[in-house]
């Protein structure tokens, strides 16, 4: 095994095009925040300079030497051929015909083609199985938080419940629940998810937790725990994110307000529903005005200019 090491490196000559290319990429990224026009400009710069760069690289590098000329065919009536070259003495056959589609080319194509087909038949479903289940049926079905009597008007409860009973304890989630009194004859609730809008740590109520009075309620799917509390806001232990009592960000790195849950009242029980994201809550309690967004993951902006960074929420197939 002799390493092939020519004296001169096959590296492209120095060139300024990569700089232009990098500037193009930077403009493109900037455009994602500023606006589509800038994105277009960036894309044009990137493609243009990229092309010039590639052209330089390709032209500056010597290509492989041309294949040697095939030996001239043996004409009829030429000098007698030695036995080792007997194939030249086979019955005359048109050169073209021999070269047009030899069997080895067919076999090569067939092997590669069949191999690719079989490979594809095996890999595509396997890859699909690795990826797709994470995007199918991801909407939680809602959970029972127990009888309404456990939520006295105007008071907060830290509620933990199983989001998906089939998944067991690992799907236990925490929400801050407050009964706001009646709105148009139906009870109104504020239900705030404890998942920090920065990177998902569990936020804590800012104020005393009344653990002695905590309750465990058996509902159809698992145990719900309720701990009375009287918070002045919510804070996150991880990086110091802080939220107001309505879940609006007041300090720290979070990018939006805390997520909320929809709710419904069924047979005198409070049911927690789909979670949704909130940019900022206006007003308080039952008078709060909220623009609902699809549930985004922590750290993703739902409004403002940075929202264009997250044009597609994860699909739920």
């Amino acid at each position: 095994m002799e390493p092939h090491r020519p004296e001169t490196p096959h590296t492209p000559p120095p060139s300024l095009w990569p700089v232009g290319f990098a500037v193009g990429v930077a403009v493109l990224l900037l455009g994602l925040i500023v606006g589509w026009g800038i994105v277009l400009l960036g894309a044009l710069l990137t493609v243009g300079f990229g092309f010039l760069w590639v052209r330089d690289v390709v032209e500056g590098t010597p290509t492989a030497p041309a294949a040697p000329e095939p030996p001239p065919p043996q004409g009829i009536g030429a000098a007698p051929v030695p036995a080792r070259q007997a194939e030249a003495a086979l019955p005359a056959m048109d050169e073209e015909e021999i070269h047009r589609y030899p069997r080895n080319v067919f076999l090569e194509g067939a092997t590669l083609g069949l191999g690719a087909l079989i490979g594809g038949i095996v890999t595509v479903p396997a890859l699909g199985f690795a990826v797709l289940p994470a995007f199918v049926d991801q909407e939680p079905q809602g959970s029972d938080l127990g009888p309404l009597e456990n939520f006295p008007e105007g008071e907060w409860r830290v509620a933990t419940f199983l989001e998906d009973p089939e998944h067991g304890e690992v799907s236990r989630r925490t929400a801050f629940v407050r009964h706001n009194g009646d709105l148009n004859g139906v009870p109104s609730f504020t239900i705030i998810s404890n998942r920090c809008a920065h990177l998902g740590c569990p936020t804590q109520p800012q104020g005393s937790l009344n653990e002695e009075d905590s309750e465990e309620i058996e509902v159809e799917h698992g145990t719900v725990t309720l701990i009375p509390t009287n918070p002045s806001g919510f804070t996150c232990p991880c990086h110091g994110g802080a939220y107001s009592i309505e879940g609006n960000r007041t300090a720290g790195p979070p990018v939006r307000a805390l997520d909320r849950y929809e709710f419904s009242i069924r047979d005198g029980h409070l049911w927690i529903g789909k979670a949704y994201s909130v940019g900022e809550v206006e007003g308080e309690g039952k008078d709060a005005r909220i623009k609902k967004y699809h549930r985004f993951y922590p750290g993703e902006h739902v409004d403002g200019i940075q929202q264009i960074l997250y044009p597609f929420p994860a699909p739920n197939l």
Binding site: A134, E139, G168, V170, G299, F312, A314
Partner: protein
């Protein structure tokens, strides 16, 4: 001058080696690998790559043994780790080796990368090996991430939640990455088994294959001499001509101790 026949001990050692060599050429291959030429002025910094390799092998072995007792299920994972640490004979040692070894592996990767960088050993014709090295680095770090969840304690759990959500903040693809890593919209039972499969099958397999490529290129291109070297790359210390005494295939290099210094 008549040669003395090799001693009985030599023949006993060499017979099986010769047998294998004759049928596979493997011994010659190993010999080629071990006794290939390296620049005369290599130094301790050049051992960092092999040190990284050793750390990886230790991780692979201790990991496989831990997998005999570990249970990747949200209900039992934490318990099984407690059992490994506190109850099973020598479990604390193997788990400790794997846990501390993980940091050693990553630190060594960075040191090795630093040596390659400072010596300019990434330059032509070794750029591709640098690229493979970067892939190894990323996969190594991913091993660290996926392994950290497995004890299923509070630190591991929340560190993983935060790490997954950091991925979620990537522009455009972020939300998709979260679902892929979680195995669903939220952290769930799938997350643990998925991290386990990645941690002990997929990623180590890829690392193993890439290390093979990495070493192939190291052997093919030779190790580069340090930037201050006064000799051309690949210039080795002269060896005496191989003597035929001893094994044709022997791993024991005959006359190794009689090496002449030039």
């Amino acid at each position: 001058m008549a040669r003395r026949p090799p001693s009985l001990l030599r023949r006993i050692v060499n017979y099986p080696l010769d047998w294998i060599e004759e049928r596979s050429g493997l011994i010659g291959g190993v010999r080629y690998f071990l006794f290939r030429k390296v620049p005369h002025d290599t130094n301790w910094a050049h051992t960092l790559g092999s040190a990284t390799l050793t750390a990886f092998i230790v991780q692979a072995l201790t990991g496989a043994i831990l997998a005999m007792y570990y249970r990747p299920d949200p209900g039992t994972a934490y318990e099984s780790i407690q059992k490994i640490t506190n109850e099973l004979t020598l479990g604390w040692l193997v788990r400790g080796m794997h846990r501390w070894g993980a940091s050693v592996f990553i630190i060594l990767m960075f040191l090795h990368m630093g040596r390659v960088f400072l010596y300019g050993a990434y330059k032509y014709p070794r750029e591709l090996n640098w690229v493979i090295g970067v892939l190894l680095l990323v996969l190594g770090l991913f091993e660290g991430l996926t392994g950290y969840l497995l004890p299923y304690d509070q630190t591991g759990y929340w560190a993983t939640v935060v790490a997954i959500n950091i991925n979620g903040t990537a522009p455009i693809l972020g939300p998709f990455l979260v679902n892929l890593l979680n195995g669903g919209a939220d952290f769930g039972p799938e997350t643990l088994s998925r991290f386990y499969a990645l941690h002990m099958l997929l990623v180590p397999g890829a690392i193993f294959a890439l290390i093979g490529l990495h070493l192939y290129l190291v052997i093919r291109l030779g190790v580069s001499s340090p930037p201050w070297s006064d000799r051309p790359a690949g210039d080795a210390m002269p060896l005496p001509p191989p003597s035929r005494d001893g094994a044709r295939a022997g791993l024991v290099r005959p006359g190794a101790r009689r090496r002449v210094r030039s």
